[in-house]
Amino acid sequence: MFWRVGIDIAMAQLTNRRRQTLVSVLGVALGVGFFVATSSIMSGSEKDFVDRLVNNAPHITIKDEFRNPAQQPVFSVFPDGAVALSHTKPREYLRGIKNYGAKVEELSQKPGVIAEAALTGQVIVRYANKDVSASIAGIDPEKERQLTKVETDMKEGSLTRLRTTADGIVIGRGMATRLGLQLDDLATVISPTGLVKPMKVVGIFYMGNLLLDEGQVYVLLKNAQVLLDKPFIANQIRIRLPDPNTAETVAAQLEGRWVYRSDSWQEVNRDILGLFVIRNAITYSIVGAIMVVASFGIFNIISTVVLEKRRDIAILMSMGFRSADIQRIFLIQGVLVGVLGMLLGWTVGLALLQILASIKFTVPGMTDRQGFVLDYSFTQFAIGGFFSVVSAVGAAWYPARKAAKVRPVEIIRGAA
């Protein structure tokens, strides 16, 4: 029977000090609001970034290189021997992935897996006496469409036109502007081996990344093989998996089997993914600090109430309220401040998100203005609310205990 009267008393004491209550509720609300907003930006940009990592590039790239140089035979013959070798000249391998056709075929058998053989290298694109150096990728347009987002980033023409045009090339908008190239113009492509090949621009993409927009071109695999003078050679197998999260284990399996270096998207971007962990740690510690400050506010108001209400506590006890009842009355006040702060904080958070959503800015390296990618998921609202209630109850704990320890006789005697 305590709860209803206890909540009434707690509410009455809070509403009686409306301004202080409001201030401490605002403290919590700002904490929650900023938490919601920052974690929404953080998790939004993280998700967006990971999304791009996963969707813009293959999940696994098998390359024609080896992670470790081959072991000298003498070491395998005498594994325990005191053998030392120095200044050995590493054996030169023929570059390229052996038998890539069979490998691609085998990988493509698995459901949901898309595998493509590619040949990459460097070329120079020349038009009207201007040169731009570029990374060239010889690809299979049909598979490239499914592997990466080049096709969706096409502004003019299309990847598939590579198939229907003899000697077609797809370039970025940055390069097109620099060279003054337009769709269906003939550009000259010069390879490091000295081969010069006029190629027709069949597509212009725009990814928003300066490096790619100015320096990446796509041609058919067989054209790349001719240009780079590597007939029947592919130096990459690009793979897309049904579940990107399995990329790391699958890559390890493939590397174990074929020895060729197999990079999963996680491995390639390990530093960035690591950065996200640090970033999250920073976010949470800042928000934690805000909540600590807010909980000092709660501590302050409830301590004050306890000090001021010692007579009321004493009379309640003399009336027959138990110590635990008194403690609960003040804990309820903490909960109320926490819950009010949570609700108001959610509103503040939503408002901040509205403002953030309307902000546009330019990122160095990107060519057009963009906004924050925000994550509106319920998780951060829930976490923020949890933080606020926990810190409010935590802050109320000590004063509530002090209130429970009030000895009514001393107070009543002192008042008389």
């Binding site: 029977m1 305590f2 209803r4 009267v5 009434d8 008393i9 009455a12 004491q13 509403t15 009686n16 007579r311 009321d312 004493a314 009379i315 309640l316 006890m317 003399s318 009336m319 027959g320 309220f321 138990r322 110590s323 635990a324 009842d325 009514p408 006789v409 009543i412 005697r413 008042a415 008389a416």
Partner: protein, 231 residues
């Protein structure tokens, strides 16, 4: 058995405040109060009147000796059990009204009943209204304590003490802050509680006239009972 028990019994009660120099508040108090008695406790200031009242009302715990309520031993009880006894069996009236300022008079009177939780809300309301009406406070029920006069506040405090229908009313200088007229009213209320409702009232006071009006007077000196007179 129960009819044989006095309402309140103090057996050899001593209360010493532990300190560097321990202070003896009351010493070797033996007191038996029967149901329906009206008792005043007097004595010079510092003689332990209020301390005795707090011990009898289970607000304080004796250093040695024991207080029995309705024949029930209280020495082994923990703080919660003592609180439960206070809630049901004892009503306190202090020199200051100690009404909660956030609540109306009516709500203040309802607090002990709501804590006890034996009556439904409408029952609690009508009982609180009845108690206040009895004390001529019907028109003040909705007011806050700070809108009342001193006498009205004290009557509200008495109504609150009566909320859970306790057999025992303990009053600590209940007229100490009142003018003569209001003091008279409060004394009459106490007399009425005893004569009409059969309650037991123990009132600490330093007012001669109040002390003389009660059928029994206990006079304390230096924490001991010096006289216990019945008139």
């Amino acid at each position: 058995m129960s009819e044989a028990h006095p309402l309140l019994q103090a057996c050899d009660v001593t209360r010493i405040l532990p300190a560097e120099v321990p202070v003896t508040l009351v010493r070797d108090i033996d007191l038996t109060v029967e149901k329906g008695e009206f008792l005043s406790v007097t004595g010079p200031s510092g003689s332990g009147k209020s301390s005795l009242l707090y011990l009898l009302g289970l607000l304080d715990v004796p250093t040695s000796g024991e207080v029995l309520i309705d024949g029930e031993h209280t020495s082994g009880l923990d703080a919660d059990a003592l609180a439960a006894l206070r809630l049901k069996k004892i009503g306190f009236v202090f020199q200051f009204h100690f009404l909660l300022p956030e609540f109306s008079v009516m709500e203040n009177v309802m607090l002990p009943m709501r804590r006890l939780g034996e009556l439904s809300h409408p029952e609690i309301e009508s009982r609180a209204a009845g108690l206040l009406d009895d004390l001529d406070m019907a028109s003040q029920m909705k007011k806050r304590p700070d809108q009342l006069s001193g006498g009205q506040r004290q009557r509200a405090a008495i109504a609150r003490a009566l909320a859970n229908d306790p057999a025992l009313i303990l009053a600590d200088e209940p007229t100490g802050n009142l003018d003569t007229k209001n003091s008279q009213i409060v004394q009459e209320i106490f007399a009425r509680l005893v004569s009409e409702q059969g309650r037991t009232v123990i009132a600490v006071t330093h007012e001669e006239s109040f002390a003389r009006s009660t059928p029994r007077n206990v006079y304390l000196v230096d924490g001991k009972i010096a006289r216990d007179e019945r008139r």
